[in-house]
Symmetry: C2
Subunit: 461 residues, 2 copies
């Protein structure tokens, strides 16, 4: 491993390193790109960046890191929202975005095996002609390795689950540079301890995922999208829970609250929508007769919960337009609050607590003088709030987040449904998990005794 | 904790023990009941049995066990098939069958919280009036704690997943006697390491589960059961995979091979069935129109795969009769082989390998002079073979199992889809997991340094 540029890692390198040489990029202009994350949060300048192409290069990097005591931060597409990828000291960035080959697609097994830098849209482009899709959709075009590391989920989790449910097996490099295979590429196994799931969500702190075998699902024959407005959040939530109780094949079940719908109207310069809480729904039916019956059943349910209007999109074009609006929500809010940055909270609660959680967030926003919009994956109880702020009210937005998390934990929820702990939510970890945090620390120390893998993320040892 | 009977645990007990006293039953007649498991496999006589009623009594037992160096074996309903519950030395049995309260059923949250000794039929009786069910069905009326410990699954896994997917959170007593809560009772969380899933499938070797919050699912409105005969196993498997590819709401997808169907005919003393491979299928539809369309689509698929006959059961009575036959398979085989014991193998393979796995098992049975019947959870690739044997051909049946597992592992499968490793499959662990076994051992040593929790099960430390 050779390096060039401003920093010098030292002469121990050449002898300690027993793998293929990997160039360390230390050009300041490059390193600066790694100091800011997608949320605008800033970290230190890392000591360098390497771009391993495969597991051997990752393992060689880890062995060298261990020999030289160099902490490592792995990253894929860089779409973390919680500071997972920010350097705090002298870390070396292991950028896996170029380790992005699709190794296998097996239509009969409904699986694909990929390197960690493969993104979800890249994978879906490769599986579409088999009539299959990778269903975890966090919005961003994240890498699959990064999605596994944060246990990402998103809009389709209500039907297909998140990364725990969709990664069958992985290959990983451990802190000692050894390579292990975790899980098996079968639908179920009761063999040995579940290490595959231990690494999912561990944010690169227990090992570096270098390969994943994921589940693929059939692309549905018959897909309808619905938008329904309700007088209150509580009515929308009750209707959503009743749909779930009717075992309807709902694959997306998204809530946008009244301020969000108002922002969308303003963004489009039109009064498209009732400015009341709305559900955006996808229904995946097995046939046209099933689709008709399922849409009728949803109509019956939403009417019983005093729905104000009901829009069904059946063609691809109509469906695309309906969801385009939902996806525009963040841009609509940005347009309403020029110059602001945005905090996106990520709490998740049991269904029975959703309406109260939204109410708490709205009331708290009022108290703190903040403009709070809610965009929740209601089918999972995952209540995102989006709050614009500037340097002038940064403390208020932080207080908002803290109070919302405390409330969420007090009713049995979680501080983070899908974004992960990273740097920013470590402070809530013991409140959520109690003495289990000591067990997490013991496992971290066992797997990474020198604290070289993404140190200080998820927890402190 | 006091004890009576033949054994004496020693005087250290009274002082070391800081919880409520728990009587240790050491009556030989009682202990003998714990020396044989459901498969007829024999272990040592344990040193005694305790019956904790709740987490405090479990924690007190563990603290006492630690102070006295007493190894523990936890059990629920005692339905393990792999020797998980057999004593190998001087273990104390912690029988949790009396820790069986249903603590909470929350219809809005689609969850129930139970003590570990609650059985699945007990839970389903408590949730049915809410229109909800606990869907994991391993056949036996197992306890939920035991099912979590072995990551049980069963006939409905193709639609609902096994215990990993259906346990949201747990409470556990660790080897040091501390009590932790793992996971959160929400649909998704990315907070901290996934310790909930680390304990699921660990067979009581990493901690003792004292409480579980599980997912409930709506009882389907419209359920049809189908039985379809095929000329070959390959045709049946191809039809099954095509049904899965069509995203039909199949909730059971079971294969019985020709010898199994012949045994059922003999059992009933009638020629009910074509003596060729058959699929037993449940379809859960959201409405009657959906059910009709889905049944038609399945008819189309099975015809394309040369189905010989097609039986649809629509009423509850018809459905019950159809599945009764499938459930009678084991009794039918027993009746055909009086005086025999039975080995049930539990390998699982990728879909593309199912037909070859069945073929391998059948051929291998012929070579070894064994009568092999296959009853597979085909929707999960889980291929059970059922093989009668006596003392005269015990070696042959062991060779059958070993060869089948080696074949399975060589094509990417697992030695155990749902029964667990226990005692009997430890020998395959490294062949399946390679260097990851060292990581499992490291975790076991970290969590249970004195090797007091179900020692020698899953792995040796």
């Amino acid at each position: 491993m050779e390096e060039h540029g401003a920093h010098d890692i030292g002469s121990a390198m050449t002898t300690a390193f027993d793998g293929p040489p990997l160039e360390i990029d230390t050009r300041p202009g490059i390193l600066d790109q790694y100091t800011i994350d997608e949320t605008g949060r800033a970290g230190q300048r890392p000591r360098g960046v390497v771009y391993p192409a495969d597991v051997d290069e990752v393992a060689a990097t880890v062995r060298w890191a261990r020999a030289t005591g160099t902490p490592l931060i792995c990253r894929g597409a860089g779409t973390s929202l919680e500071g997972h990828l920010l350097a705090q000291g002298n870390e070396l960035i292991v950028d896996l975005s170029q380790s992005n080959s699709i190794l296998d697609v097996s239509p009969t097994d409904f699986t694909a095996t990929v390197q960690p830098g493969v993104t979800r849209t890249q994978l879906n482009a490769a599986t579409v002609e088999s009539g299959l899709q990778f269903t975890v959709d966090p919005g961003a075009d994240a890498s699959l390795g990064g999605m596994a590391a944060t246990n990402a989920s998103g809009t389709t989790t209500v039907r297909y689950g998140g990364m725990h449910a969709n990664v069958l097996a992985s290959q990983a490099v451990l802190a000692d540079g050894s390579v292990v295979r975790l899980g098996r590429a079968v639908r179920k196994s009761s063999s040995g301890y579940d290490l595959k799931d231990l690494l999912i969500g561990s944010a690169g702190t227990l090992g570096i995922i270098t390969e994943l075998t994921v589940r693929l699902h059939p692309i549905p024959e018959c897909l309808r999208s619905l938008r329904v407005s309700f007088p209150t959040v509580a009515a929308a939530v009750d209707a959503a829970v009743e749909m779930l109780g009717a075992a309807l094949p709902v694959s997306r079940l998204e809530l946008v609250d009244a301020p969000g719908m108002a922002a969308l109207n303003a963004f489009h310069g039109a009064d498209h929508y009732a400015e009341t809480p709305a559900l955006f729904i996808d229904v995946e039916s097995s046939s046209e007769p099933a689709a008709i019956a399922e849409e009728q059943e949803i109509q019956r349910i939403v009417k019983a919960h005093k729905a104000i209007d009901f829009t069904a999109a059946r063609s691809h074009t109509e469906r695309h337009a309906l969801w385009e609006d939902r996806h525009n929500l963040f841009f609509a809010l940005k347009a309403r609050h020029p110059g602001s940055r945005f905090m996106v909270t990520d709490t998740a609660v049991p269904y029975s607590q959703i309406a109260a959680a939204v109410d708490t967030a709205t009331r708290l926003g009022d108290e703190l003088g903040l403009t709070v919009s809610v965009a929740g994956h209601i089918g999972d109880g995952n209540v995102h709030t989006i709050v614009p702020y500037t340097d002038l009210n940064h403390d208020a937005v932080q207080q908002f987040s803290d109070t919302l998390v405390h409330h969420t934990l007090s009713v049995g929820g979680t501080a983070t449904g899908e974004h992960g702990i990273g740097l920013t939510k470590k402070k809530y970890l013991r409140e959520e998990h109690g003495a289990a945090v000591d067990l997490m620390i013991a496992i971290k120390r066992t797997l990474d005794p020198d604290n070289l893998l993404n140190p200080g993320k998820v927890l402190d040892t």
